[in-house]
Symmetry: C2
């Protein structure tokens, strides 16, 4: 069993570290955005160097005290809060917030874990490069948390998930050892892929303190359009058509549903809506072009071919940056509208592209069988990643459905599982989905995960209770 991060542990830390590494506990570190969980905190540590992180972890390991690595606190699966058990030490990386170096000629940037995602983007931009990770919480999420959760977002279609953007890591392992793996190399086949093991492990196998990232050329021109499609199936065919015309140049492909527009009208009427009558389905498409290609021409060419093929019935091509921003604002305000309406159950799922149209139809039927709900199904269509959120019927409150929440979630996740999908596409497991992982996870993989966790963190101090439920050691 673990011990609490109490006065004795504080005394141990102060034997090895300057007092300013510790700070009085603040309640905001005990909260997570959706308010499902409220965390316990024994001590709050704000180290400034990897050596201080190492000392903190070494002490925690010696004293068997649980540690929560803490980034921007924006995670949606309660990976950052421990609701019960011995109070842990929260180890926030916020003071390790330097962009250590930008190697523009190598297309590489090295940042500490506490840098806010938007600041990483800005540092790349200042060097005339693109750091393509982009997501709603980018103004407060920290890059270490993005790595720990392998964050996704709108750029995955073209540039991959966070793990795909990372070349090397500096990290502290559960025994306090520092792994100096901050390589900028594109090719390095020298042993097991510890980098990818730590990425996505949600702080359960160590603390990431810095990372080397890939940068990319900025696009010379971008083009943005909102295209009305007759069905999700047509949207997928439109993506295929776009790729055959433009290769990798499609940098975003987001699906939106009429329900989302209706929610905006209902609770965020100030958001400028592009269509007089909201379409049943539409896609927001963005092109990023180089090589002298003209964005307007490329978009026009795609639109003409799509109209001819019946994949698009109508559409709006942004004529300037303001219009493009307006289109994106619609997409980006959907989560806020959802939050205000209040979901009975939200699902961050992915399914194989081919299964997606049938999934949307079958899902609607299953939910209708359960009662009177509204579904806002939208998201990163090109990745097969849907935010499939189920809401009360109009005029009803989510509280009226509280006894159906589990049933709705089970119904959606069962269907996802049946078609070979994932119950967590981009948010991770955290504490919210530990049960889902046990239910739907592959048994061989789960047993390998437990063996790895026990081998690297035999005392179970790293983010205890997240991802895996381990037996008492």
């Amino acid at each position: 069993m673990l011990n609490p991060a109490d006065k004795d542990f504080e005394a141990l830390l102060l034997d090895h570290l300057p007092a300013e590494v510790l700070r009085p506990v603040e309640p905001r570190y005990a909260e997570e955005p959706r308010g499902y969980f409220k965390g316990l905190i024994g001590l709050l540590a704000l180290p400034r160097t990897v050596e201080e992180v190492s000392t903190l972890i070494r002490c925690a390991n010696a004293a068997r005290v649980g540690v929560i690595p803490y980034g921007g606190g924006t995670g949606l699966v309660a990976g950052q809060v421990i609701p019960d058990g011995p109070a842990p030490m929260v180890l926030s990386l916020e003071r390790m917030n330097a962009v250590r170096e930008v190697y523009a000629d190598e297309n590489v940037l090295v940042a500490e874990a506490g840098v806010i995602l938007a600041d990483v983007q800005a540092a790349a931009d200042a060097a005339d490069r693109l750091f393509p990770l982009s997501l709603a919480a980018e103004g407060s999420a920290r890059i270490g948390g993005n790595l720990a959760t392998n964050a996704g977002g709108t750029g995955v279609l073209r540039y991959g998930n966070t793990r795909d953007l990372c070349l090397g890591l500096e990290a502290v392992l559960p025994d306090g050892q520092i792994w100096h793996g901050l390589t900028r190399l594109r090719k390095n086949n020298t042993g097991y892929d510890l980098r990818n093991l730590l990425i996505g492990a949600e702080g359960t196998l160590g603390v990431i303190t810095a990372a080397a990232f890939k940068l990319f050329a900025q696009s010379e021109q971008t083009g943005t359009a909102l295209l009305i499609v007759p069905s999700p199936r047509a949207a997928l065919e439109l993506l295929s058509l776009g790729r055959s015309q433009l290769g990798e140049a499609i940098s975003a492909f987001e699906l939106m549903n009429r329900q989302g527009f209706d929610f905006l009208t209902e609770v965020l009427p100030h958001v400028r809506q592009p269509f007089a009558t909201p379409p049943e389905w539409c896609v927001l498409i963005e092109l990023g072009l180089n090589g002298g290609l003209d964005a307007a021409e490329a978009m026009e060419r795609l639109l003409v071919a799509a109209l001819e093929a019946g994949l698009v019935t109508d559409g709006l091509i942004a004529q300037n940056a303001q219009q493009a921003a307006d289109f994106w604002a619609v997409r980006e305000q959907l989560p806020e509208a959802n939050r205000i309406i209040g979901a009975v159950s939200s699902h961050d799922i992915s399914v194989p592209l081919r299964a997606l149209p049938d999934f949307i139809e079958a899902g609607a039927k299953r939910i209708a069988d359960l009662g009177d709900f509204r579904i806002n199904c939208f998201g990163h269509l090109g990745d097969g990643n849907l935010h499939y959120n189920v809401f009360p019927a109009k005029g009803k409150s989510r509280d009226a459905y509280s006894n159906q929440r589990d049933q709705v979630q089970r119904s959606v996740h069962d269907l996802v599982h049946e078609v070979g999908g994932s119950f967590s596409a981009e948010h991770g497991v955290g504490r919210l989905k530990v049960g889902e992982l046990e239910r739907y996870g592959d048994p061989a993989k789960l047993s390998a995960m437990r063996a790895i966790k026990a081998a690297l963190d035999p005392r179970g101090i790293m983010n205890p209770g997240a991802v895996l439920r381990m037996g008492a050691s």
Copy 2:
């Protein structure tokens, strides 16, 4: 200690498997391309299904018999041969050679581990898609081996290493459990990244039996050129310029040195040489374009800008497919010329791009200090990956240098290490570089690797002696 794959073990296997899974041992499975190692083989197993692989591994684990997963046998670091100790079971995947499915609309292909790389490429091509992994041994290397070694090659610059192309795996873990992880999902954050742990583990953590791969749009047009550059530094600036003009469209960027052309003249005179006088340095550049871009125009534009900037002094743009093939033939015949000349020591290294020009200079000096050698330094410049091969002076034989081999290798690898590079960029560790990994590897990473190996394969049956030297368990 392990037991040999002997008659008793054969009897055990025949209790659980049909006799046709076993085959008489053939000597070719005991050989590796460079002939440094000669392997021992107790039994040869050729399973046809993942279930048969599982039974073989389960029996090997029970009997403590070592297993070598065997692909095409083309690996260059002796990962596929055990030269001493109890004779292992060689488990060749060659009968699991089906492309299970091509999902062209999803840009996904699912292949069994025994499919030859060129056949994966062909299956993608038949569906009008690109599978971009490309390397010299593609006609005989099997995709399972490519995964196990995280193979690189010429396409890494644009499309990444083998791990970057893989979406999901089916594999048998060291205890015989089957991991059904053959997902086609682009986003799936449900626990530790077992996929990337097995990729690059060189068969020491399990046997990969099938994989789902990403496909890409084929290029509408390709352009190929051989450009003479004044220096490696200019070559890197040319790459930077090309990327700012063309984004991701540069699909190959290979450096060649005068020494390579001289070797071709010396031992492969039939290879058509593009330049009357071989240049000191040149790059082979390939563009793959979509969106209606004209390859000739794009190449011309790049060449003009490069000439103006002094990054290129002269060059040849391929005017047709035959010329492009001729340019590539020069690059692709370099390894064969090297083989005939006979290297004193070959090095598959990578260094940070910024360090590369100085590395080439400093390396030449260090080698000159050791004696009279010729250096053929060429390779995947855009990845910082050089094949840095050291040869006897003209007219001398490699045997005359046999007592200097270790010194040359140490000298090169020390310099690589000093500049933050890797002693194995794309070939892996195998048995040839176990000592190098112990010497240059990060201690924290090595200790984590040992812990993972012990946790997943406590009896040490999987490819024993490769990658890590473990104590007797």
